[in-house]
C-alpha cells in the first residue's frame, strides 16, 4: 500500500502524532529509523568506484558510463540531520477491520542532542519499537521509562545499525575474542593415553 509521506521537525513530532492519533490514526504499524551518515558524501575509496561515473566526487571511469543513479552531478548533498525516525500509521475501524484513511508515514529528522518524545502514551506498542531503535541506532526517546536494549545484550558496546559501526567488529560474550577454534581439531584424533583408566 502506498504511504503518504510527511516530514516534521523533532520538536513538533509528538504534538503532530498526538493530533494524528485523535484523527483516526489509531494503529502504529512501525517505528524505525534511518542513518544518513554516508548519504550524499563521497565514500571512502575501496576499489569499486570505477563502477560509477564521474560525479560529485570526481571519481569514476568510463567503465561506469551511463550510470547516473549514484553520486551523479546534482545528487543531493549531505543532510543537516544524520538520522530520520520513521513512524508509519494506519487507521483501522475497530468494527469492520477496514482502513478508513490511507496510511501515513511521518518522518522526523533527528540529530544527536535533540529531544524526541516517546509516543508510548499514544500507542503502547511503541515501547519495544523505541527500545529497538535505541538498541540499533542509539536514538534515545525522552519521557519514557526503562529504555534499555531489546535485542542485543547489555554488555554490547555501540549500536550496530549505525553506518559507522565497523562491519567486522565482534563482541562475543564467551569464547576467544579473536574467534579461533576451541580445541576442536584435537578431538578428531585418537587420544594417545592408555585405554586402561
Amino acid at each position: 500500500m502506498r504511504f503518504e509521506t510527511r516530514t516534521v521537525a523533532s520538536a513538533q513530532a509528538f504534538d503532530t502524532l498526538r493530533q494524528l492519533k485523535t484523527g483516526d490514526y489509531n494503529v502504529l504499524i512501525d517505528l524505525t529509523a534511518v542513518d544518513y551518515f554516508l548519504y550524499g558524501k563521497c565514500p571512502e575509496p575501496v576499489g569499486w568506484e570505477q563502477n560509477f561515473p564521474s560525479g560529485a566526487c570526481g571519481i569514476g571511469s568510463p567503465a561506469g558510463a551511463g550510470r547516473t543513479d549514484f553520486l551523479a552531478a546534482g545528487a543531493p548533498g549531505p543532510r543537516a540531520h544524520r538520522y530520520e525516525v520513521v513512524y508509519r500509521l494506519a487507521s483501522l475501524d475497530p468494527a469492520t477491520g477496514l482502513e478508513i484513511k490511507p496510511r501515513l508515514e511521518l518522518r522526523v529528522p533527528y540529530s544527536e542532542g535533540s529531544v524526541l518524545l516517546s509516543v508510548m502514551s499514544l500507542w503502547p506498542n511503541a515501547d519495544w519499537l523505541e527500545r529497538e531503535v535505541w538498541d540499533m541506532f542509539g536514538i534515545k526517546f525522552a519521557d519514557r521509562p526503562d529504555i534499555k536494549r531489546l535485542l542485543l545484550y547489555e554488555e554490547f558496546v555501540g549500536h550496530p545499525l549505525r553506518k559507522d559501526y565497523p562491519v567486522k567488529k565482534r563482541q562475543p560474550l564467551i569464547g576467544p575474542k579473536s574467534g579461533e577454534l576451541l580445541g576442536s581439531p584435537s578431538f578428531n584424533v585418537v587420544r594417545q593415553e592408555t585405554p586402561f583408566e
Binding site: P160, Y165, P172, L173, G175, L182, E193
Partner: protein, 179 residues
Amino acid sequence: MPPMTSKASLEGRQDDGTSVPSLVQQLPEGNLVTTQVDAVLGWARKYSIFQYPFVTACCGMEYMSAAASHYDMDRFGAGFPRFSPRQADLLMVVGTVSHKIAPVLRRIYDQMASPKWVIAFGVCTCTGGFYDDYSTVQGIDTILPVDVYIPGCPPRPEMVLHGLSLLQEKIQRQGRRGR
C-alpha cells in the same frame, strides 16, 4: 555414503569384522591388548544415542524431517530426543547461534554428562554461514568442541544421517576412552 550403504549398518548389526581390528591397529606401539570390552562399549554407545536438539532456527525443520518417520533417525539408534541435557549424550546444535544465546549453549554442554558428543548441524553452526555480522557466533567450535560438522543450508536428511553414521564410527573407535 559408505556407512549407510553397508548392509551391516542398515540392518543394525555390529560389523565386528572391521571395527575391532582397526581399533587394534590404531593403538600406539608398546600398548598390548586388544579391547573386546571397548568394542562392546562402543557398540552399545553408538546405537543408543540420546540426542539433545538445540534448535534455534530454520534448520530445525530439516532436523524434524530427518528425525520423523520418513527418514527415521531411529533406524540408527538415535530416535529418542531428551529435552534435558543431563539425560542426553549427543548435543545437536541446529540453527544460527547468536552471541546472546552462546552462554546458554555452553552451559547446556557443560550440564551434559560424559561421554558426550556434539554435532554442528547446518552451515550457520559450522561457520556462521552468511551471517557474517555483529550478532552471530562464527562457528560454534569457538565456544565448544565439535565432533561432526554437517554443512548445508539446510543439509538434506541424507547428509544428516551420513553425519550421524560418521559419528557412530567415531564413537565405536573411541571405546572406553570416549569423553
